[in-house]
């Protein structure tokens, strides 16, 4: 014997005898029965009793079964209430009418209890299925709302961490979907204390939250290390090892990074897994292709990771383009991809550097045309501009009442193993930036420190001749020779001595840098600074323009600079 699950069944029939008979059969099968004698009463009982199934006579007084069925179906909304018409009608038309009115099935008189039982069971199964579906649908709706809410929270957090940095500056043009982080695309830009502009475009594997998680540590590392003045190689190394540590195997970040030096008119580029970057030369409207030479970030362990960068000359008006594969894979309605060739054609046909970015955007968008716009078209263009103009447009400074360390001195020796592997400037700069008065001069201080350090290293310890840099060919050779000598370095040192005295309204910083190089005869130190060995043209005049004094000492392998700041005169006292 199969056990019957008791249901509540409404029987509506104006014939007392028929109703009683049917009630007996149904009750006998183990169900609870409620009854109605006409259409209006059927609706009343339905509303009050909420039956599971309705057995409904078609022809009844006051309101017939067809109308009652229509009303009940309308009232039940998305709940499923099976209605089985009870009918002696034989004509096909009338049977069809039952179904049109919202009936789900019909049962012809005289009643056959076996068929009735089978039908009730069948509808019970459908009821359960409907119920399950409804529950699952509701669950999906709840889950989806949850997911959207989570994404919104995640996006708000992310926007704070990866605040747009300095993407708003005039010489950066970019296109990025507002929800790009969930496509795995990240675009970051920061101005370093040295005034260099660092830009990173990253494309994480995958989509959604999985693609977004890695963006947080990436952005945080990028911004904090750039703010401290770290170089691009150190930042890449750190980002790579952080991502390698936290991301599961198979999730990584294709990325391109550049450091734009407005003063030296150079750009340092690293490309790991992004499509070829283009360096567009304004002078002859040509472009240079910078292919990916490295594995993406987060794949290799720190010891295997290569942060070898490329150093290129870049003149005012030249621009560097980086993009994710979204632009190459942008698809038109016919299913064709935009492709590399079309990208090159835009660059080859275009005749004005200023409108190139807009032209490129326009071409890609008109290519995609009616097809759904892909949201992962990430493109950035960074233009080389005049340093002074850039600084005037983007003033960065802030004063705080905290005085910081006021009277101190220190000496820091850097020896071969450190000279090879480590950049001591961020550490030293951090000490100096603890003095609020110096903080608003961070750019100048950085320039002074890095000028002194690189001069001591390149021309002192490594004995390189700066005149090599005057030709393009020599430029490359210089950097090759530099990395060779640095690699082979066995002895030598740079000694940096810093001394500071000040209060909340002014202060004096004295920095002495001594190196193990051969120096020069300081009696030659004349007004003709440009001829001094060691400095390539702009170096010494630059130091003199920032510092209150620059003086060579000893055997010419020691230089002392003084930098004075005052609250009233935000630059320096003469």
């Amino acid at each position: 014997m199969d056990t019957v699950e008791p249901l509540k069944i409404l029987i509506a029939d104006d014939s007392n005898s028929d109703r009683l008979l049917l009630k007996a059969i149904v009750q006998n099968q183990g169900h609870e029965v409620v009854v109605a004698a006409d259409g209006l009463e059927t609706i009343e009982v339905y509303t009050r009793e909420k039956p599971d199934i309705i057995l409904l006579d078609a022809l009844m007084p006051r309101m017939d079964g067809f109308e009652a069925a229509e009303r009940i179906k309308a009232m039940s909304g998305e709940d499923f209430i099976p209605i089985i018409f009870l009918t002696s009608l034989k004509e096909a038309d009338s049977l069809a009418l039952c179904l049109e009115a919202g009936g789900d099935d019909f049962l012809t008189k005289p009643y056959n209890s076996v068929i009735l039982k089978a039908k009730i069971n069948a509808f019970n199964r459908m009821l359960k299925m409907h119920h399950t579906l409804q529950q699952q649908r509701d669950q999906i709706i709840v889950n989806n709302e949850h997911l959207i809410q989570e994404q919104e929270v995640a996006k708000r957090v992310f926007d704070k961490v990866a605040h747009a940095g300095c993407l708003h500056v005039k010489n950066i043009n970019y296109s990025l979907s507002p929800l790009a982080v969930f496509n795995g695309d990240v675009l970051l830009a920061a101005v370093k204390p040295s005034g260099k502009i660092a830009v990173l475009l990253g494309d994480f594997t995958g989509h959604g939250l999985a693609a977004a998680i890695g963006a947080m540590p990436l952005a945080q590392t990028f911004y904090s290390m750039n703010a401290k003045g770290f170089g691009m190689k150190e930042i890449l190394q750190e980002i790579n090892s952080k991502l390698k540590d936290i991301l599961p195997v198979g999730v990584f970040c294709c990325a391109g990074m550049m450091d734009l030096d407005l003063r030296e008119k150079t750009v340092e580029v690293w490309n790991g897994g992004l499509p070829d970057c283009f360096l567009y030369r304004q002078s002859d409207l040509s472009y240079e292709v910078l292919p990916s030479c490295h594995l993406p970030l987060g794949v290799l362990s720190p010891k295997d990771f290569s942060c070898e960068t490329q150093m290129l000359e870049m003149l005012d008006g030249d621009s560097l383009f980086m993009w994710s594969d979204g632009i190459i894979e942008a698809t038109n309605p016919a299913g064709e991809m935009f492709g590399e060739q079309r990208l090159k054609t835009v660059f080859e046909e275009h005749r004005s550097a200023e409108t190139l970015f807009k032209e490129l955007e326009g071409r890609v968008n008109s290519f995609i045309g009616g097809s759904q716009r892909d949201d992962d078209l990430s493109v950035v263009e960074v233009v080389m501009v005049d340093k002074e103009e850039f600084e005037v447009e983007n003033v960065l400074s802030n004063h705080k009442s905290y005085q910081g360390p006021m009277d101190w001195g220190m000496s820091y020796d850097v020896r071969p193993d450190t000279l090879r592997e480590f950049n001591p400037l961020p550490v030293l700069l951090q000490i100096l930036m603890d003095i609020p008065g110096l903080r608003s001069h961070s750019g100048e201080i950085y320039t002074v420190m890095s000028e002194l350090y690189s001069n001591a290293l390149d021309h002192g310890v490594l004995d390189l001749d700066s005149s090599m840099k005057s030709s393009t060919k020599g430029f490359a050779e210089y950097y090759q020779l530099r990395s060779k000598r640095l690699g082979e370095l066995q002895e030598g040192y740079i000694r940096i001595t810093m001394d500071y005295r000040g209060d909340d309204s002014n202060g004096l910083l004295t920095v002495t840098v001594q190196d193990s190089g051969k120096g020069f005869d300081i009696s030659m130190q004349t007004d003709n600074d440009y001829k001094l060995d060691g400095y390539s043209g702009r170096g010494l005049p630059l130091l003199k323009s920032i510092c209150n004094s620059v003086e060579y000492k000893g055997g010419g392998n020691e230089v002392e600079v003084k930098f004075q700041w005052s609250y009233n005169d935000s630059r320096k006292l003469a």
């Binding site: 594997t205 790991g272 594995l295 594969d325």
Partner: protein, 101 residues
Amino acid sequence: MSISAKTSGNGSELNISIEGRFDFSSHQEFRKAYEESGMAPNMYVVDMKEATYLDSSALGMLLLLRDHAGGDEAQVSIVNCNDDVKKILTISNFEQLFEIH
């Protein structure tokens, strides 16, 4: 998209063939291909002869296979790549991690 795997050389080599687009939708199937081979091959070959395209999730899956096969000691080669597939592998410099033909 379909992925099939067969072993050869007495189970010392597992050959995984990719057909059609190799992207995130093949994640489960690709993983099954090497996890459920029931063997411990010392050489893996991913055959791209019938593969038309791969995306960055596919690159991730290849890294997972490499990890499964022993990481830096893994012997995984990717063979019969068409130009599009080769280009994508080259951009990411995967030749440093896999033998690519």
